[in-house]
């Protein structure tokens, strides 16, 4: 309950250090040579000890990528990316696949400790969260593995899954986001390095939150992680994802792909708190976050729910989507996107209704401060067979100051006359009246903004698992630091 007072403290303590995750871990790295060609892909595949089919799959994606053009329809502007000037593989040298946590380099464990992610199992939140930590191109450690395996849950790095569970991977890899889906996803298919793999067996309600923590450390490195979650019939899983990166003057590319599959009666809840380095006040440095996230509600009565709190990154291009294939399946998208200073975000969702009586809900809260630009872009598509489909969309934008922008670009396509689609949108500013009212009750201007913004985002924040809600509330305060006065 004392969440918002913590927010205030956090904001206060941040005068000097706005992005506290901006440190660099000094660790010897093994990298592939700079640039991208078939040899680099072979190198990555070899490093991962992948079977031939996997290499072929990567090469096919790469060849297709070469024929594609970088998309430019999003309302974001950034320096042209030189794909030959990036490292596509970086791994801590000491870390050739540790068998257990004891084998993990202490330097790395320290890094995660600094980030507030204890990897030692006994320190983890009394056993309610299992963590897979990804450091640049490799998965560092997955906790609670034994306990999960006992229940039949597979939770491991995707590299490991390719080796250990090839049939499952083959069956679902690229089935939700095809190789040729878009420029960045094709690139990811060619060079993806690591990420998490989750399989929840039939009828099991996964008793702990599964979590992945992504960390970009190395310089000039792209992070191309790939996450896959399969919820078998009647199962339930809640998955959390957190991200940070060091403070660097150059931009770093992050092009991830996330695929979710929910079979009959299954439910997947996917929550993200994204806090990649946003760049400095003038827009130098920061992460380019070009991510393709999509979930398929394959079975009847299945449900996929995306909740995201996006506070970081210099440029965000991200549309977590749901394909509602099964009858009565449900898709949800709850989003808070905050942009401050020179940040740009073009984010939203796609809800594709295929099955009968499919339902989707979209709640998007965009907050813009400084000189930032914040765009909601969404598509609700009702296909001819989606009898009785329903969608409700609410897009609210909040502006702080006079130099920022908020844009809403909703697309609605309905091909079934029985469908019901609702769209509501508001744009507001933090009023001078609200600020004075809060200050008159003793709140500092920063605390007042943080409180008002948290109130504005409430409908989304309540969707986050408790462990993440606290962190997210703090983040909101921090990322709006300096936006008033």
């Amino acid at each position: 309950m004392s969440i918002s007072s913590e927010t205030v403290d956090q904001v206060k303590g941040l005068e000097a250090d706005k992005y506290k995750y901006g440190f660099v871990t000094d660790i010897e790295m093994e990298t592939a040579p700079k640039g991208l060609n078939e040899d680099i892909i072979r190198f990555i595949s070899e490093k991962k000890e992948e079977p031939d089919w996997m290499l072929e799959w990567r090469l096919k994606a790469y060849r297709h990528w070469l024929t594609m053009k970088e998309p430019n329809w999003a309302k974001v502007g950034y320096k042209k990316i030189d794909y030959q000037d990036l490292y596509y593989y970086a791994a801590p040298k000491s870390m050739d696949r540790p068998k257990s946590l004891d084998e993990v380099d202490p330097e790395l464990l320290k890094t995660y400790e600094k980030l507030g992610i204890p990897l030692k199992e006994q320190e983890l939140l009394s056993g309610v969260v299992a963590v897979d930590a990804v450091f640049d191109s490799v998965s560092v450690a997955t906790t609670y593995k034994a306990k999960l395996t006992e229940m039949g849950v597979i939770f491991c790095s995707i590299s490991e899954a390719v080796r250990e569970y090839p049939d499952l991977v083959k069956k679902y890899l690229g089935s939700v986001v095809p190789q040729s889906d878009n420029y960045f996803s094709a690139l990811n298919c060619a060079v993806f390095t690591d990420g998490s793999f989750v399989y929840v067996p039939k009828g099991l309600r996964c008793p702990m939150e599964l979590s992945t923590y992504f960390r970009i450390n190395a310089e000039n490195t792209g992070q191309f992680e790939r996450t896959m979650i399969i919820a078998d019939e009647g199962s339930y899983v809640s998955y959390l994802e957190g991200c940070t990166a060091p403070q660097r003057d150059e931009n770093q590319l992050h092009a991830a792909v996330v695929e979710l599959v929910a079979l009959k009666d299954a439910e997947i809840k996917y929550s993200t708190v994204q806090n990649w380095y946003p760049g400095d006040e003038n827009g130098a440095g920061g992460i380019y976050n070009f991510v393709t996230k999509r979930g398929a509600c394959r079975g009847d009565n299945s449900k996929i729910s995306w909740t995201q709190v996006e506070t970081g990154s210099a440029v965000t291009w991200k549309y977590p989507s749901c394909i509602l294939q099964g009858d009565n399946s449900v898709g949800e998208f709850y989003s808070v996107a905050i942009t401050n200073n020179a940040q740009q975000a073009d984010t939203g969702t796609k809800m594709i209704h295929l099955g009968k009586n499919t339902r989707s809900t979209i709640i998007s809260k965009g907050i813009s401060a400084g000189k930032a630009d914040n765009t909601y872009r969404g598509l609700v598509k009702i296909m001819p067979k989606a009898e009785g489909a329903r969608n409700f969309t609410q897009c609210d934008s909040l502006l702080i100051g006079n130099s920022c922008g908020a844009h809403t670009v909703p697309y609605i396509e309905s091909r079934n006359p029985t469908a019901r689609v609702e769209h509501e949108a508001t744009t507001s500013k933090i009023s001078e009246d609200q600020m004075f009212y809060c200050q008159q009750r003793g709140l500092s201007p920063e605390a007042a903004v943080s409180l008002i913004v948290n109130g504005f985002c409430k409908e989304v924040m309540k969707e986050l698992p408790m462990e993440f809600a606290v962190e997210a509330q703090k983040l909101i305060g921090i990322s709006l630091e300096g936006s008033v006065g």
């Binding site: 004392s2 009246d433 609200q434 004075f436 009212y437 200050q439 009750r441 003793g442 985002c457 409430k458």
Partner: protein
Amino acid sequence: MALLSIKNLHATVGGKEILKGINLELGPGEIHAVMGPNGSGKSTLSYVLAGREGYDVAKGEIVFKDKNLLDLEADERANEGIFLAFQYPVEVPGVVGMTFLREAYNAKLRYSGHKEADAMEFLKFVRSRAKTLNMSDEMLKRAVNVGFSGGEKKRNEILQMAVLEPELAILDETDSGLDIDALKLVSEGVNKLRSENRSMLIITHYQRLLNYIQPDHVHVLAHGKIQRSGGKELALELEANGYAEFSGEAA
């Protein structure tokens, strides 16, 4: 020794001089009523005291508890013990009243170098304060002032005041928009909060409120100046004669 001392206060809003030399002293525990016609500068006085942006002091001084109030920001003034009950309480969507109040209460504790209140203890404290005022704490479960009736908004202000225990409470037209029952309830609340450690500055158009909250002193504000001061009988006189006596006076 006065709690609040205002000397030759001149204040402008948007470049226009509204207050033209106010002198006023409030002793500890005293209740002063400031009455006056529309546009006389009553609300400006309350905003200047609370430190609202855009209300600029051109001349004069305000001393509160021996401190130069003009050196302090609005939030610092609040934490020093000044509470303004708003004429139009502001909506804060999505922020639950209890959270809002706890933030404010903790801000004050931190300001005076104390530890923040325990959430459960605070909840009990708020309930007990609400009970003293014969008010329900139900409205603290809702977002601050969102969808509140006029009466609820004013009651909420008084409840906040009871929790934050200010040394100086400024009630800006607290009676406006209240029906007779709500007026009684709010006044009773205010009377319960009277104490020798709490001074009040009650700003109102009408004498009506002063039937319920008896002031020690009454001042008439017109044309940016205190035109007359007296005891509570002055309020009755105004009620009988109106502000005509003061309205002809040149600025």
